[in-house]
Symmetry: C2
Subunit: 124 residues, 2 copies
């Protein structure tokens, strides 16, 4: 199976910048029906990630600031990475999406359960 990340990644990625509020991050996930929001700099470079799990954590621990929940040490995928490598990375770290970045660390896509399900549904 020589499918690469760029073959199946989602290209129009909803991203946010670091100064977003917790409520606005939650609103963006609701408006877009998504669970992962890559956090980027003004030039589109990866800076972190916020997920619906992080919002749920904020509710559980009564946090009100995004700084408390943003994950800065983001695992990413490269466009030419094989799909089994990306899947193993997600499984090993108990995460369900990887922002795809180019050589300049600019976010060019995202790969998660939706893309993997589409691949399984079509090829198997």
């Amino acid at each position: 199976d020589d499918v690469t990340v760029s073959d199946i990644m989602k290209q129009n990625v909803v991203t946010v910048t670091e100064n977003i509020s917790l409520e606005d991050a939650a609103q963006s996930m609701f408006d877009n029906g998504i669970t992962h929001l890559p956090v980027v700099s003004n030039h589109g470079k990866i800076r972190g990630i916020i997920t619906s799990w992080d919002i749920s954590k904020a509710v559980a621990l009564k946090y009100t600031h995004l700084d408390k929940i943003i994950t800065k040490n983001v695992l990413t995928a490269s466009p030419d990475e094989k799909i089994d490598s990306a899947a193993r990375k997600m499984q090993k770290n108990n995460i369900s999406a990887l922002p795809v970045i180019d050589e300049d660390e600019v976010v060019i896509g995202i790969i998660g359960s939706e893309e993997i399900n589409k691949m399984i549904g079509e090829y198997h």
Copy 2:
């Protein structure tokens, strides 16, 4: 690929009952590192589902009661269902996990991105 849902589903499923509070649902997701909580009756029968996306929706819309966010019309998988059928069901409905139920509608497992990623990582 004749892999069935029961071949790869997670069997020890964290579930909650219908009278749980929004905060307790969020706490359970945080404690267990999970994003999907099947809601079951006292006899373990499927009644609905709550996800971290629903918690995020509650933050965005300032809801405080679980009744406002629980999804009652749950899509499920059967243990002998082929994996491509389960994947298509998730992809078509933009969801990332299916509770697995037996003939009595009792939750016996769950299949989501973690299980699919494990399968891709191993077989491809």
